[in-house]
């Protein structure tokens, strides 16, 4: 009788020992693994969604006509080719019938599109979205055109600049008629800016 009681107590002690040393840690481990599994599954879902969206966007990008992509590259180039832009400026000025005096290439700087003539925007520097990142990478290249011609020629020049294949924003125009003798010809100073998206 006493022997039987000892066995029973021993069984209970063994059971408790197993619970404490094997089952409890195993349960904790399983719980941790299940949490990890849930995280992995969540990440898998997101990765799947991301991959699907990515594949969709890649196919959309691949389906864009090459002419459109070329036009976009021309409109927003990766860098401003100052020689090419200067050549275009010369062509535009001469095509408008003005006599080109000088094309001055200014110093390139980073600006936002909204504040193209106001230097770097603080808000653009602190943001993190793709749009703000794009604006941070936007570089502006100023050019100053000095030319002589008639008022009609100047208007023609402005229209040609406005219709240019890539953005050539007119940020300043000034001219005065000082001459009393030959007032048909005026001396113009026109400030324009071109833009590029710097690849970082």
């Amino acid at each position: 009788m006493r022997f039987q009681a000892s066995i029973q107590i021993l069984l209970i002690v063994i059971s408790v020992a197993i619970i404490m040393t094997v089952l409890r840690p195993e349960f904790s481990e399983i719980q941790a693994m299940q949490d990890q599994l849930a995280e992995y599954n969540n990440a898998l879902d997101k990765a799947d969604q991301y991959n699907r969206a990515l594949q969709e966007k890649i196919s959309q990008a691949n389906n864009l006509p090459n002419t459109d992509l070329a036009a976009l590259d021309q409109y927003v180039p990766n860098r401003v080719d100052i020689v090419r832009v200067s050549r275009d400026v010369v062509n535009i000025v001469e095509g408008s019938g003005l006599l080109l005096i000088d094309v001055e290439v200014g110093e390139s700087s980073s600006v936002t599109v909204e504040n193209a003539n106001a230097g770097v925007s603080q808000s653009a520097r602190t943001g993190g979205s793709l749009e703000e990142e794009a604006k941070r990478q936007l570089a502006v290249q100023p050019f100053t055109i000095e030319a002589i011609g008639t008022y009609t020629n100047m208007k023609s020049l402005l229209r040609a600049v406005e219709q240019n294949a890539y953005p050539m924003r007119i940020v300043g125009i000034s001219f005065t008629n000082q001459s009393e003798s030959d007032s048909r010809l005026l001396s113009y100073t026109i400030d324009v800016e071109t833009y590029a998206l710097n690849a970082q």
Binding site: V22, L44, G172
Partner: protein
């Protein structure tokens, strides 16, 4: 005697139920509990062991699938797409903020008074998509200046402006001809010499008022530009420098004469 009293003629029922003596049944509760706990623990251990293996396998499978998903996209594709997206954003932004300052001249030409001529022009694209236009004009009296200011302020594009300064002086020819300034001044007062009033009109507006719209600005045509067309004042103004902006473009009109009576 005692036997006779026991010898009853009524037979005794042999099937008479004997009163069962209820003994104490011993239930070994501790024994049951100990066995249940022990074997339960063993069973749970086995189940947990296999469950752990199962969960571990699932975890490994998920991990492999995640690595596989991760390897499916390349960083180059992502960078290329991001760059394309950024270009589209910038292009859209530039297009939405494109301006046509040439519209200012069209607006100006429509409101130039006949007896006022402009000798200076400046346009500045300011911060926050605003612009400032400064016009330097000349007239021979203040009434044309007032009339010109009225015309300009009624204009949709140049309307948000005013004459910020003006200078009243006698004409240079009078100064040249007459060495004595006092004499010139007296002559001026008497009306023999025309005064020259130089004024500055400054207008500020939003560049949204002068947006570039493709197709709106017609290609430049010399014949069209040089042609004389009626303006809002009823007079005629040519687009060319000779008449539109320069001194030679001044044409006297009835308006100028009539308003001069007020001075």
């Amino acid at each position: 005697m005692a036997e006779s009293s026991n010898a009853s003629f009524i037979p005794k029922n042999s099937k008479r139920t004997q009163k069962k003596v209820r003994g104490t049944r011993r239930i070994y509760l501790l024994s049951y509990v100990s066995y249940v706990v022990f074997f339960g623990t063993l069973l749970a251990t086995v189940i947990v062991f296999f469950f752990s293996i199962q969960v571990n396998k699932s975890l490994e499978a998920s991990r492999d699938r995640l690595i596989e998903e991760k390897n499916r996209f390349s960083q180059e594709d992502i960078d290329g797409l991001r760059h394309l997206e950024k270009k589209l954003i910038i292009a859209n932004d530039l297009l939405n903020h494109s301006t046509a300052p040439s519209e200012l001249f069209s607006a100006l030409e429509s409101v130039v008074a006949d007896n006022v001529y402009f000798t200076g022009f400046s346009y500045q694209h300011n911060v926050n998509d605003t612009y400032t236009v400064e016009l330097v004009g000349r007239a021979d009296a203040l009434n044309p200046v007032l009339y010109q200011r009225e015309l300009l302020t009624q204009n949709a594009i140049l309307g948000r402006g005013d004459v910020t300064s003006f200078d009243y002086a006698i004409s240079e020819s009078a100064e040249d001809e007459e060495s004595d300034a006092t004499t010139a001044l007296v002559q001026n007062l008497l009306g023999s010499e025309d005064p020259v009033i130089t004024f500055t009109f400054v207008s500020r507006g939003s560049v949204a008022d002068i947006p570039y719209t493709p197709g709106a600005t017609a290609p430049v045509n010399d014949t069209e530009i040089l042609s004389v067309r009626p303006n809002s004042t009823g007079g005629t103004v040519a687009d060319d420098t000779e008449q539109g902006v320069s001194e030679e473009g001044v044409v006297d009109s009835g308006q100028g004469t009539s308003t001069n009576q007020g001075i």
